[in-house]
């Protein structure tokens, strides 16, 4: 991802009101991590497992810090139980920032990523998690604000899937 796009993504999170991010680092969007850490308006927590990231961000959200979770698409599989019992059943708003690996517009796609990638959206749909796919920076900030507004409105997770220009 170009540095400018990474900056817009992080600035967009801030403008949308996100102030807590838990994450398990991955390849495609990793440029956002130092930017998040450099901005004191974010509380940033690295974890060992995506399920844990969902649980910690759920706690932060319920404590009054609008929270996001950042991980690779595989993290949705790993954390699906926590998304279900905390995000859906308990009803906790959180924003999922997902590197949409293995998608058609993933510039790093390969046989390693394609098979998990094609199942990501069906998994989100089975969990009835609202999502938006981003291929470039067009309307990035507006859509992120809309996603955060949505997560507060329905008090559930909302997912942003980043592919295309975000996966360079």
């Amino acid at each position: 991802m170009e540095p400018e796009l990474a900056k817009r993504l992080v600035d967009g999170l801030k403008e949308a009101g996100i102030s807590f991010v838990s994450y398990l680092p991955e390849t495609r969007l990793s440029q956002i991590v130092p930017l998040l850490r450099a901005d004191s308006s974010f509380m940033v927590v690295s974890v060992a497992n995506e399920s844990e990231a969902v649980s910690i961000s759920a706690g932060a959200s319920l404590a009054g810090r609008p929270a996001a979770v950042y991980f690779e698409g595989s993290g949705v599989y790993v954390s699906s139980y926590n998304l279900l019992v905390l995000g859906k059943r308990l009803g906790v708003p959180m924003l999922l920032i997902v590197a949409y690996y293995g998608s058609i517009r993933d510039k790093r796609n390969s046989f390693l990523y394609a098979f998990p990638g094609i199942h990501l959206i069906p998994i989100l749909e089975s969990l009835q998690i609202q999502y938006e796919v981003f291929e470039n920076g067009e309307c990035l900030e507006d859509k992120m604000k809309g996603a955060v507004k949505m997560m507060h409105a329905i008090k559930q997770p909302v997912a942003l899937l980043f592919t295309g220009e975000f996966t360079i």
Partner: protein, 199 residues
């Protein structure tokens, strides 16, 4: 030592602390003994400790208590390295370890019935104040100290396998209602809005 006796000791000590619980009989027993608005019983295995960590980080001035069980913690051991590194001084973790998956009704032994020492695992993950208590007197001493000090505490409470929770009335409050009660309590006591958005 019975878990119910531990809860009977702990409940009167709850004032402004936040209590996050997991699943199993402990949810039923704690919900029966303590009706505090600061209870957040997430009713899921492997999720309570993470939620408690998130609460403790955002509200460092509030004491947060995580009620865990051996089965639930074994399902989510990935929390311990993160917890050891974050080291939130306002978090007390109580793991009620009866060494079985009692909810299965077949008393299937958990790993702690064998060689696994959860306090030892916690210590190796960097949680310095991790200990095991095996009697009520030790439980009272350790929890009193943990609640009164500003240091991360991890207390494994070896308890009997009991079925008392099956005789206790189960909560009728559903999870969304429970969550709203908790959040409104936090909004009131913290003086800030938590759920955002306009109607």
């Amino acid at each position: 030592m019975k878990r119910f006796e531990c809860f009977e000791f702990l409940a009167p000590m709850i004032t402004s602390q936040l209590v996050v619980g997991s699943l199993s009989g402990q949810r039923v027993e704690w919900g029966h003994i303590c009706k505090h608005e600061g209870n957040l019983l997430v009713a899921a295995m492997g999720a309570a400790l993470g939620v408690a960590v998130g609460l403790s980080l955002v509200l460092p001035h509030r004491k947060v208590i995580a009620l865990e069980s051996d089965g639930s913690l074994l399902l989510s051991l990935y929390n311990l390295p993160t917890l050891g590194n974050l080291n939130p001084g306002n978090l007390v973790v109580l793991v009620f370890d009866n060494e079985v998956y009692s909810g299965t009704r077949i008393s299937e032994p958990s790993a702690t019935a064998g060689k696994t020492d959860l306090a030892g695992v916690a210590r190796s993950c960097g949680i310095e104040r991790a200990t095991t208590v095996r009697d009520l007197q030790s439980f009272k001493r350790e929890t009193t100290q943990a609640l009164n000090e500003n240091a991360l505490s991890f207390i494994v409470c070896k308890v009997d396998q009991t079925t008392g929770h099956r005789e206790v009335q189960r909560p009728t409050e559903d999870l969304w209602e429970h969550k709203y009660r908790f959040v409104r309590y936090l909004e009131k006591t913290e003086g800030k809005p938590i759920f955002l958005g306009r109607g």
